[in-house]
Symmetry: D2
Subunit: 285 residues, 4 copies
């Protein structure tokens, strides 16, 4: 054990980088940088299916979309729930893209694991220990977002809960911490990417959409994250951001996303990596 009381997730325990197979053709943590994209929330089946095709064509390798949404206010859109989950699954199946979605409570883990390829633990639940223990029993990978004011060691301690339950397929995701400047929604801690990678063998990815909360800052900060060593970037894309049911201000349009993917390829190459491309043929209907 380290001085911080950790064991399984540290470099002391395992020196080499952990590579997590998300699907037969998609892995996170190797030389290839993944691009995870999708709407904040699944708003309808047609929305997510159509967008998934667009995103895949533009270069996304994993599809994201919220079905169960944690919302600060009880009076805002909480997601479509089970309906959102099955719609997301269908969008993934149609495009061949693995899907990631958030699970908010112990009682929903089984259902979410049935439909998703990666289970996301959101920032607000980073220290929800019963939930961490529960996804520690899953066979699917877990994407663990950093808490809004979590130190690197606290973040790793939460990962250790999952690992301790038996699931070592954990992807850490920096998504912005609390800052003092109202100029941006959160303070995107890009340095956390290389800093936590020194401590752990787990893959580390970055979410510049929540990280900045501002669509014009998403492209430069996605590039910065890859330059700093992120194993994947996760960005929110919406066909009509201004009409999005949640997180519109931080969602980019598909055309901007397409341009961003091109730049990401160049930056990944500049740091000795490449961007993973969706190679699996899309089944014809």
């Amino acid at each position: 054990m380290t001085e911080h009381g950790l064991e399984l997730v540290t470099r002391d325990h395992k020196q080499t980088d952990t590579v997590i197979a998300v699907s037969p053709s998609v892995a996170i943590g190797n030389r290839d940088v993944c691009i995870i994209a999708g709407p904040c929330a699944v708003e309808s089946e047609s929305q997510i299916v159509e967008l998934a095709h667009v995103l895949r064509a533009a270069g996304a390798t994993i599809l994201r979309g919220g079905a169960f949404k944690p919302r600060t206010s009880p009076y805002t859109f909480p997601g479509l729930g089970t309906k959102g989950l099955t719609s997301l699954r269908r969008a993934g199946d149609e495009t061949g893209l693995p899907v990631v979605t958030e699970v908010m409570d112990v009682g929903s883990v089984e259902e979410v694991e049935e439909h998703a390829d990666i289970l996301q633990i959101g920032s607000r639940n980073m220290q929800n220990y019963p939930l961490l223990r529960r996804v520690g029993q899953c066979v699917k990978p877990v994407l663990l977002k950093r808490g809004i004011a979590a130190t690197l060691w606290e973040w790793l301690s939460s990962a250790e809960y999952i690992a301790n339950g038996g699931n070592l397929e954990i992807i850490l995701c920096e998504r912005g911490i609390r800052g003092f400047d109202p100029a941006t929604r959160n303070l995107f801690d890009v340095t956390a990417v290389p800093a936590v990678k020194r401590l752990t063998h787990l893959p580390v990815i970055a979410d510049p959409s929540h990280g900045t909360g501002d669509r014009t800052l998403v492209p430069p900060m996605a590039l910065a994250a890859v330059a700093a060593g992120a194993d994947a970037v996760m960005v929110e894309v919406h066909t009509h951001p201004d009409n999005a049911l949640s997180d519109g201000p931080q969602s980019i349009e598909p055309a901007v996303f397409e341009e961003l993917v091109k730049r990401l390829r160049l930056v990944a190459s500049a740091v000795g990596r490449s961007v993973l491309q969706a190679t699996k043929p899309v089944h014809s209907p």
Copy 2:
């Protein structure tokens, strides 16, 4: 609704202070300041029962003690669980002190509500929405700790989740936020007490033990909290702090607690209040 999307918990909705009856003889939110004391964790039945007698004699009006403990590391003492709960209840019954203890997940709410007089939602779970909705259905009061980096409006939004579920008996508890100075464990935001009281009609209390993380700072900051208008203070007391199974560094000894209560009475009086005294006779065995 306010500009922040809140309704039930704001002063706009209800101008007068809410007073919450915890037991026939104990209420929070009126002229009387309550003193909540006890160990971080219930370590054994004899520990909590003996300590409860000492605390009651010294002036405590509510007994605290953790049965289910959220711990940053999966390898540290997680509390005694159900055994801790029944021991705490027995200590409360023997002394006539109402008891408060934390509930960490939806599945334990029923059991905790059966044994406790107040259900505590910890800082890490301030935005655990399924849990907030669940305690919103309870008939017992809920003590909602402020999240480690929660703004006042986010804190109130979490209270709104509980109120929206039907339970308006909510006590807000400031317990220290994340700061930049390693000189103290947390940054105890005493100003939050009068600042949030302007926005809400709910009672607001303060926990200088977690707030400072340092036993020598607990007495002055408990006094400061009452001077600033706190409706109660919650302090961790342990007979042998250096042997405590958790939070020893921030626990004070019974003799220090006794001295503190005397000072609290003087400060409460200086700001036009008094300290509630346990008046209910202790039943003889």
Copy 3:
């Protein structure tokens, strides 16, 4: 030297509390709590003289007022400069109250020292080392405000610069640090008072006006500061806060100040101290 490279200002160097004589009848750091009051800025001679009489009658023991004002924008009122300084001096002489005012640059130290009884180093200049070295050569006491994001050790290191220059008459002043919640202008770190007092023998005071930035929070937080052990409180008072040339939102009216002084006496007494009263007879004109 301590592990932090400090010497003169630490308790290791000197165990007993330092008491600083500001005038024949006013000292800071002993059993008596001082009350420092005045406008943010001296706006005219009649303003400061009249207000000084009012404040003295209400219980102030030291008069504050800015002549050289550090302002975030170059287009706002920078203070009256020399004229403000002589007006402040006259107000002090007429009422028998010692005066404290800020000095912003090395070139003004001589002039400010000639007129003031205490030289204030503002928060923005806490690490202006040439200025610290210069006031280290003064014979008048220095009031050193904490930097907006200074740790306790950084604050003491700045005090050490002054002490190292030969001037050990240093008063530390907590005035709010940067926080993440826009609900208040700053985050008033009351805990810093007892926390830094453990490390240093110097007196520690608190400024709830800048600390909170909000006049309705000034009274409760002034009381909290004294309850926590502050050797003095410094509050901004203005006859017509809404017309103040600077810091109006955080200035209280004289009637509120008078009421506050009464409460401060009760709280000081509750923690075993008293509030110093201006005893020196005011000379008749």
Copy 4:
């Protein structure tokens, strides 16, 4: 004027990017990214001259080196002063590299301006208004570091002081802000680069050495800063970092620097820019 009371430094005042000519062959703010490198402090003439040649050969376009050093403790190396200044100048002259160095007080501005090509205002002096006004009268460009807890608008307000004095040649430099995680010395706010560029026409650069305080994090974060749009990066390089008189832990070795420059060229190219190369022939002795 904007809502924040600014005028000259905003995009409202001037839409197009300001390009600042530092020397006949070096400009900051156009398509070319500059690389500023050098030791934290000038330690001797031979050190800085020899290092300058190495850095120029490796790709540096501007030489940095401290002569007057702001140090938290009065007992640590304060820089060589005038001797350091003339040594830095000589290193610049020998290599043809323009030089940047810090000025800490009004009284030294004339001397520093005589020897330096860019005057640096350090983080601790970002709100030292007499100093800002003084460099506002200089004809040389000013590099304004962001204060440790400055918002973007406060940073720009300080730039406005300089501009208001008549000097519009201002380079903004992000250098890390105060964070809550002791894992890194500061919190390098890379997002501030594109975020402040939206508000101002001035060039914006980044200092990952102070930003992270950790030499292993400097290369990835330098790359991230350029990916995010920085007009230059400033890195501390030392031949023997472990023997450096200041900031050794964050200084990289020349070989690491050389490798970094190669990567920076690739990343700059990936975002549609190039890295400026020192083209002026070095005079033979």
